[in-house]
């Protein structure tokens, strides 16, 4: 940072520390991070402690509301024990929603990858002069209300909606299929529909960054295009596939509205529904807190993996 010409000029400014070779007072740049750090501390990190305090707290029997235990020495595991026994027992309150959540998220994420990879490949390599147009069309769902799109699916999937009408006129269905009658397949497709752009984004970024000379090298060394894809493109996009799987599935774990709008029966309930339903009943709030804690712990590994891999990618990008 220190340049020879800067030093004599900097001496004139009273607060400079040019003698030590720095152009700014040491506190200058860190001070800019103070508002953001304080905000995150108060409204992002501290709430996690509140989740712990409520989970390990007690429930007031008269006021029928949670009493958080702020001091870790007074922590009481009875609510967490209750939660675990309802997860492990086959007729427990939370086992079915958890199983549904994992099954739906896995199914939807796989669909997202199968749809997202070819589309990202197309965007990066084959869209040619229409790339700008396709990018705009691809980004459109990011600023179009999710609720509006789900409302539209709701009407498209009605018994007399366009989906059934088209499938019947094509002869695929003989009578309307009850898409909205609590079918897991509808929830899975709905989730895939809602979150597929999150899969395309990292895949596109990575595929677009692969230099064409790598592919030419593959072809020059005698690989068929398929082999070039399998030996060059696919390994180079492996990190992006993993990042896409994480970033696409994370929000699905907290999704409760897609299920509610497209199915809303007990055999499609997800963990988000269990949490939200308990949050509105004061006496059950601490159960919701315990479930959020379970969810955080379950998702911690993919979150940390994602953060580490993007951090590494960013450092490589700078180097």
């Amino acid at each position: 940072m220190s340049s020879e010409t800067a030093l004599p000029l900097k001496r004139r400014t009273p607060r400079s520390t040019a003698e030590r070779g720095a152009l700014y007072p040491r506190w200058f740049w860190p001070s800019f991070a103070v508002p953001g750090s304080v905000y995150l501390l108060l409204f992002f990190l501290f709430p996690f402690y509140v989740v712990l305090a409520v989970t390990f707290g007690t429930v007031d029997p008269i006021l029928r509301q949670p009493v958080p235990a702020w001091n870790p020495l007074h922590w009481n595991a009875s609510i967490l024990t209750f939660t675990f026994s309802n997860i492990t027992h086959s007729d427990g309150l939370y086992q079915a929603p958890l199983v549904h959540t994992f099954a739906f998220v896995a199914g939807a994420t796989v669909i997202c990858l199968l749809i997202g990879y070819p589309f990202a490949y197309f965007l990066a390599r084959k869209s040619g002069r229409f790339k700008g147009l396709f990018l705009v069309l691809f980004f459109a769902p990011f600023w179009i209300s999710y609720m509006l799109r789900m409302l539209s699916w709701q009407s498209l999937l009605l018994d007399n909606g366009y989906v059934n009408r088209i499938l019947m006129s094509l002869g695929i269905l003989s009578h309307p299929y009850g898409w909205l009658d609590g079918k897991p397949v509808t929830v899975i497709i709905g989730l895939a529909y809602g979150y597929v752009p999150f899969m395309v984004l990292p895949l596109y970024a990575s595929l677009d960054r692969i230099h064409p000379s790598f592919l030419e090298a593959g072809r020059d060394l005698g690989c068929s295009p398929l082999r070039t894809f399998l030996r060059v493109t696919l390994p180079l996009s492996r990190q992006a596939i993993l990042a896409g799987l994480v970033i696409c599935s994370l929000p699905m774990f907290g999704d409760y509205f897609t299920q509610q709008l497209l199915a809303d029966t007990s055999n499609t309930r997800m963990i988000g529904n269990a949490i939200v339903e308990q949050l509105v009943v004061p006496i059950f709030v601490s159960r919701a807190a315990a479930l959020i804690l379970v969810l955080i712990v379950l998702l911690l590994v993919p979150i940390l993996y994602y953060l580490r891999s993007t951090n590494r990618a960013a450092e490589q990008g700078i180097a």
Partner: protein
């Protein structure tokens, strides 16, 4: 000799046998782009057809969302009870959404830009921790953010409580990382030469920020403002969980409520109004950004978004 005759005497060139379509496809499924073109167009139709359908049915004459009965503005203005103009709840929801999105952008963008400026120069262990926390908040599922804030506000910060302020606090947590990521990408591509020149010419750090750095960052600050605005305008989970009563209802909550009880095209109508608003905001930001920043960098900034 006529052309036809010349052709007759010319040696016949037998073309090599063409490989069958199926074999060709197996050997080279990605070489032929036709499949990918069809796939991409199908993808775009799949993602955007429901939007077109929703917009279309907001103009439906009848109450149905599945049977098209003809064009009318009934659900926007003319229906005396249920239209956007005459249903006070819907008008209020639009105002609440716009209010929250504007305030969130006004709070999250300055904090985020300052954070990005700090992290760009300040590379210590503390800085890395701050950055890690920021990125952690970026990928945490919204439901976890919403529920933990809910617990915070009913147990610890009881004076704030639930309501519009709570919604605003939550939306800023959700949006904070976007300006950081976008502005940091721009800072990286700008490099340090402009700032060094300013310092060489005798500017103080504050003057350098005001005269050089911030003007250069202008387009990306504007872009991040537009992204935050569009993101929070349509947010659902945080505003839903942190609302207190009907007065805090936003457009996404109104559409959700309608969809659960018995939607009329009025829900499509407010959705269409918001869609128009956020498209205009994004389009303005995009045009201004493109005018000031080279095309390539624009794409770089969009790439920065998911990371």
């Amino acid at each position: 000799m006529s052309a036809q005759a010349r052709e007759e005497f010319a040696p016949r060139v037998v073309p090599p046998p063409k490989p069958s379509r199926a074999r060709e496809l197996l050997q080279n499924p990605w070489g032929r782009t036709r499949f990918l073109w069809v796939f991409a167009i199908a993808y775009v139709i799949w993602t955007l057809f429901p939007v077109a359908n929703a917009v279309l049915f907001s103009f439906n004459k009848a109450r149905s969302l599945a049977q098209w009965q003809g064009f009318s503005l009934r659900w926007y203005v003319t229906d005396p009870d249920n239209s956007v103009l005459h249903d006070p709840a819907l008008g209020h929801a639009i105002l609440q959404s716009l209010k929250l999105a504007t305030l969130t952008a006004c709070i999250a963008v300055p904090i985020g830009v300052a954070f990005a400026l700090a992290l760009h120069r300040w590379r210590t262990r503390t800085a890395r921790t701050a950055n890690f926390t920021m990125m952690f908040s970026f990928v945490t599922p919204e439901l976890i953010l919403a529920v933990s804030l809910f617990l915070l506000l009913i147990n610890a910060f009881k004076t704030i409580g639930l309501g519009t302020t709570a919604q605003l606090i939550g939306l800023v947590v959700l949006a904070l990382a976007y300006p950081v990521v976008i502005v940091r990408a721009r800072l990286l591509s700008l490099g340090s030469s402009y700032e060094e020149a300013a310092l060489d010419l005798g500017a103080s750090p504050v003057r350098m920020l005001g005269r050089v750095t911030l003007p250069l960052l202008g387009p990306s600050i504007l872009a991040s403002g537009a992204v935050v605005f569009a993101l929070t305008l349509d947010d659902f989970v945080i505003v839903d969980q942190l609302s207190r009563d009907a007065g805090d209802q936003t457009v996404s909550m109104a559409i959700y409520g309608a969809a659960r009880t018995g939607p009329t095209p009025a829900a499509n109508a407010i959705g269409t109004i918001m869609l128009t608003a956020s498209t205009i905001i994004i389009a303005i930001a995009f045009v201004v950004y493109r005018r000031t920043v080279r095309r390539r960098e624009g794409i770089e900034a969009m790439r920065g978004l998911p990371a």
